[in-house]
Amino acid sequence: MTLLEIKDLTQLFSGLCAVSELNLSLGESELIGLIGPNGAGKTTVFNLASGFYQPTHGEIIFQGRNLAGLKPHQVSALGIARTFQNIRLWKEMSVLDNILVAQHFQLGYGLGGLFFRTPRYLKRERDIRHKALELLEIFKIDKFADEKPGNLPYGMQRKVEIVRALSSGPKLLLLDEPAAGLQSTDVTELITLIQWVYDQFNLSIWMIEHQMKVVMSLCSRIAVIDFGRLIASGTPSEIQNSPEVIKAYLGDDQL
């Protein structure tokens, strides 16, 4: 079963072609990678997939549904969650509140219920809170629940961001350079974490990562883009030996 299908995806930024006629598909319960040199257009692909940009051309189909015209909050309600290259937690909210707000699409009460504190409202708030705390516990960060994210070490913030993305119960998790800025011991931990999430949560993961160690050890398949164009795709070992990829990373003159 394909979960996500990208067809002829093109994104222009006032002349600059950030993504160009990209075709790619992602199955259910797959863990694949997206790599490419700096400025290749990787983040832009994620931005398109999360509805932040509307593509200039082409379409993105998620679970048989075209994402065209949907706003990011609608896309996330459909089951695509993501993290950001530069951590974007809400810095002045507690870790717990960060997790709570990410469930906005499934609050299940209206303003009337909110103002009159109806039993349904109270129950839903309790449930949401309960679920968030449970999740924090699973990831062993419940002791930070009332802490502001800014007070946590960098690696921990990355982890909170992943938990926040997971809290909406996504079918597809997009990770944008989760290992960026981590020390090497933390990277090893992160690899275990992602593998564990993948095993436990019944979802697909698509990750952008510069550190080869991470992608090579996790992904069953890797797509490589350069200048917005797909230049190679295959298993980690195929990618490692592909002349196209080596050329893109090292430049022509190196060969």
Binding site: K71, V101, R164, S168
Partner: protein, 337 residues
């Protein structure tokens, strides 16, 4: 204990105030100051919702106050009193005491609708561009009122004192103290419940990182719409109360100077702090009255004082905290978050 401490305190406060007024221990002048405090609390807490919690910079709050003031005044005067503009009362004046809260609410709803004037542009723009839109909206509202002659135009509109007299026919109690108190409490409850719900936390998320909020499933446009409308609606209620306290409204009393006063209260109290806004409203109202004998010097002294205060507390009295964060013992008596 925790459940009842605040309601009991409020009831005691209200009965004391009404008793003092009824036995004429506090004269009309002091009563008016107390009323202004209550009204200013609604004004500041409601603006705080948009400026403090959502992080927009709305500078035209007085426009919404004006809409509420005019709509409720016109309604109450037309419904319950004989007036030159609208002739005989449409309803028996004895109903004034029951009809008044409804009239206030309608004024609030009208103001909430005007809130769309700034809520809709806020979808596409924020920061200082939105500040301008709110200033322009303030101008537009005032200018519209000036150009409607049936409601007095630039001359203003009066007759609301007669509504109070009509209420007093029903029972001889200090009605305005009752209404201001009730609506102040309701406003604060509405804002508090809103901001402590997960839904309302989306407002904070928008301030801190709007892009992340939208991508993490927060319907930012809808939240902005709702928040602006709650804020302007409550401002409208404050306007209705103000109009009936003073007994007379004039477009000029709702110009940018009035909006500035609202801004001052919010930032003096501390952005995003409900207790801060309440404290600031009380302090500011008192400051205005205590310095009244200084006459024109007052309008130099107050801004100067505020500048000095801000130099010492550049995050307002409370910062982004609530009273119960500063005095954790208070949590025994009431729950804030």
């Amino acid at each position: 204990m925790k459940r009842f401490s605040v309601p009991i305190l409020l009831v005691v406060l209200l009965t004391t105030l009404m008793g003092l007024a009824w036995f004429e221990v506090i004269d009309l002048y002091i009563q008016t100051i107390v009323l202004f405090m209550g009204i200013n609390i609604i004004t500041s807490t409601s603006l705080n919702l948009v400026n403090g919690n959502m992080g927009e910079f709305s500078c035209g709050h007085a426009g919404f106050i004006a809409v509420g003031a005019y709509v409720s005044s016109i309604l109450s005067v037309a419904l319950f009193t004989k007036s030159r503009a609208f002739g005989a009362p449409l309803l028996p004046p004895e109903l004034a005491a029951y009809g008044f809260p409804l009239v206030l609410i309608i004024g609030g709803l009208a103001a909430a609708l005007t809130g769309l004037l700034v809520a809709l542009p806020s979808f596409r723009t924020r920061d200082d561009y939105l500040a301008i839109i709110t200033i322009a909206a303030n101008y537009i509202i005032i200018s519209t009122i000036i150009n409607i002659d049936t409601i007095g135009g630039a001359r203003g509109f009066m007759g609301m004192k007669r509504v109070i007299f009509a209420m007093e026919k029903c029972a001889e109690i200090p009605w305005m103290i009752l209404w201001v108190f009730i609506f102040m409490v309701i406003s604060v409850i509405i804002i508090r419940r809103y901001m402590s719900s997960t839904y309302g936390k989306g407002v904070e998320a928008i301030r801190q990182d709007e892009v992340a909020a939208e991508i993490m499933s927060v319907n930012t446009n809808r939240i902005k719409l709702v928040t602006f409308m709650i804020s302007s609606g409550l401002a409208g209620v404050a306007g209705g109360l103000y109009a009936h306290t003073v007994g007379y409204v004039n477009p000029k009393s709702f110009d940018l100077l009035k909006s500035t006063e609202a801004l001052v209260m919010v930032y003096l109290g501390g952005m995003g702090s409900i207790s801060g806004s309440i404290i600031a409203a009380v302090v500011f109202t008192l400051m205005l009255e205590l310095l009244r004998p200084l006459q024109i010097i007052k309008w130099v002294a107050i801004p100067l004082l505020l500048i000095i205060i801000m130099q010492f507390r550049p995050e307002g009295i409370m910062g982004h905290r609530e009273l119960s964060d500063i005095f954790p013992r208070l949590k025994k008596f009431y729950k804030f978050k």
